[in-house]
Subunit: 375 residues, 2 copies
């Protein structure tokens, strides 16, 4: 038995407009979750993140367990209070980061033993410890502990890895403390193989979760291959539960995934790009460090209503980035998160209005323009 | 002839409560000017700086002339528009930074030839070029180009240096384009020597400026010696013009200087400290990186109304600083600027109310407490 936590409000083709209900409030879907790795969305105050329209953040279990530690976050009131974000939080399981960031890791049936990349101390992440840590953080949406199957993988490797994740999913579910408004999502694996994706989905649905994620994508297979998998994988999941595509992506990835029935997304792209000089806009990506921006009195996008675009020139933001000024990272991060949330709002409205196909055409025409005409 | 740009509203002992009028608005004194070196107050959006109560910023001519260049700032609408700060701006002359930051500098009667610390290119700063650059930036308060006499200096060295600055002050005044609301301040030098300070003041008053600065302090002589000089130096300046003590200081320095008749201050202290984990409070300075703060659920100061203190624990800000997160710098910088502006407001109100002596006693008692009692 699982809580009813998802309302499907409208559909247009495969695209879905819904609402996820959690202990800390509602999340309108399709939703993009900014990443707050270490208990902070880098370079953004939480009230600014909320002002962009974000209704949910993602927190990283791996980072928080190592510093400041889940017990300390719990002692300081839980992650919401700790970071001053009263709205919903989804935490990942740490499974992905432990494989990509930690040192001397050893993976067994039990879980993953590893050394912290910060101080070399030994830790263990397992379905039980990951679930317990997410509980200590007071996460609204707990993710199952899984192994992200690497790309490329043979059918046999992908099957072995997926089946381990499915055994871990049973243990994650057993370790999950059920409380009203607290959700747990299972994670589908299976690599690029349709029959394995189907097997994984069946195993998860048999266990029963409040929502389902599609894992193991956006790890090097490319957009064409990702979309090919998304042409079938979401259909293996129940219609009445939210579907979360982990670690995706660029704006065009998100639009394509929504059209294939995905409801939730997270990615470091808008925040990381904001610290390295890249702006996402309705007419594509631009690098503010490019010399052509140095003397440009226009905003990044004259139609954008974010603080960076309403009050600052490209020339100024170019200058801040060249001078490595923190305010440069602050303004571009804000712009990027604003753009992402505006995109999600546009997707939601188009699905409601039954104009999703037109929205996608407009989006693609804009991206193809790549920047304003030169001055 | 100089514009009337200063209104002395009240006095309590030597402490003065006044108002400076500029092309971009009024500045209530005693005033603290946050430093916006490269066209940005580091880690603060300008609306946040204004929210702390700041009415004027300081911009650095040396940094801005090298990057992005004064002509570019002018082409992008002047410094106010460039950095989105519509209130008054004071610019220094570049004289201090060119001696401390540039390479291969050569000082002559004409000015200072130097190579940029950024790209090694040759530049010249002189009374004429410095004044012209400040005009291009559209600075409300232009500073004379001077030589900051090093400490220590013999009477002869201090005299030579001061007299060069006085000859440069004549040339700076000649180069200044007079417009309503645009002010130029002369800078008193003379080291630690009373007769030289007096000679310098007379030379400046003979030229006639809208305001006067005291330069060459806070460069290693220590607070006791600085206060000894401030016991006489401000008295050499006309009562009806603002007095600006350059590069000062810590809160106790400011309180002591206001009691000796100073009206305006600037210092990188609150912003720089905000990026290195130090908080200024009514009970002294604390280093948030100290381990005792890691588990402390209390704010930096429970009486403080800044965003860092109303919404975040010491434990959280400790964590952000340990993790080198930008938001840690943002919150502590905001707190420090808020504290400084609240201190200035307290000084202004006390002078108005004739309770300056009590205010200073309370301030000193608070500073002596050094932090809240441990939990």
């Amino acid at each position: 038995m699982t809580e009813s936590c998802f309302t499907l409000l409208a559909k247009d083709g495969k695209a879905r407009r819904g609402r996820v209900s959690t202990a800390h409030g509602h999340v309108n879907t399709p939703a993009f979750m900014p990443v707050g790795t270490a208990g902070t969305v880098k370079a953004m105050l939480p009230e600014s993140v909320a002002a962009t329209g974000a209704e949910i953040l993602l927190g990283n279990t791996y980072h928080l367990m190592l510093r400041p530690g889940a017990e300390r976050v719990a002692a300081l009131g839980g992650l919401h209070k700790f970071m001053n974000w009263p709205k919903p939080i989804l935490t990942d399981s740490g499974g992905f980061q432990v494989m990509s960031l930690s040192e001397l890791r050893k993976i067994t049936e039990q879980g993953v033993e590893f050394r912290s990349h910060l101080d070399g101390r030994k830790h263990m992440l397992s379905p039980e410890t990951s679930t317990q840590i997410q509980d200590q953080l007071d996460s609204d949406i707990t993710m199952c502990f899984d192994e992200c199957t690497p790309f490329p993988a043979t059918p046999d490797q992908a099957a072995q890895s997926m089946r381990l994740s499915m055994r871990w999913a049973v243990r994650s579910r057993d370790a999950f403390r059920r409380r009203p408004g607290y959700l747990q999502f299972g994670i589908m694996q299976g690599g690029i193989y349709e029959h394995l994706r189907q097997e994984s989905a069946r195993a998860l649905v048999d266990i029963g979760f409040e929502g389902y994620a599609i894992g193991g994508l956006a790890i090097g297979e490319g957009q064409i291959e990702m979309f090919r998998i998304l042409d079938f994988a979401p259909d293996f999941l129940p219609e009445d539960r939210p579907r979360y595509l982990m670690g995706v992506g660029r704006p065009a990835d998100i639009v394509g995934a929504v059209s294939r029935g995905i409801d939730m997304f997270d990615c470091v792209m808008p925040t990381r790009a904001g610290r390295t000089g890249a702006a996402f806009t309705r007419f594509g990506e631009l690098n503010i460090r490019n010399a052509r921006h140095a003397t440009d009195p226009r905003p990044i996008d004259p139609n954008c209503t974010c603080p960076a675009c309403t009050s600052y020139s490209r020339g100024y933001i170019h200058h801040l980035n060249k001078a490595k000024e923190i305010v440069g990272a602050m303004l571009l991060t804000w712009h990027n998160l604003h753009y992402y949330q505006e995109l999600m709002q546009g997707l939601r409205r188009a699905i409601e209005a039954g104009t999703f196909a037109e929205f996608v055409m407009d989006f693609e025409a804009g991206q193809a323009r790549s920047d304003l005409p030169p001055l």
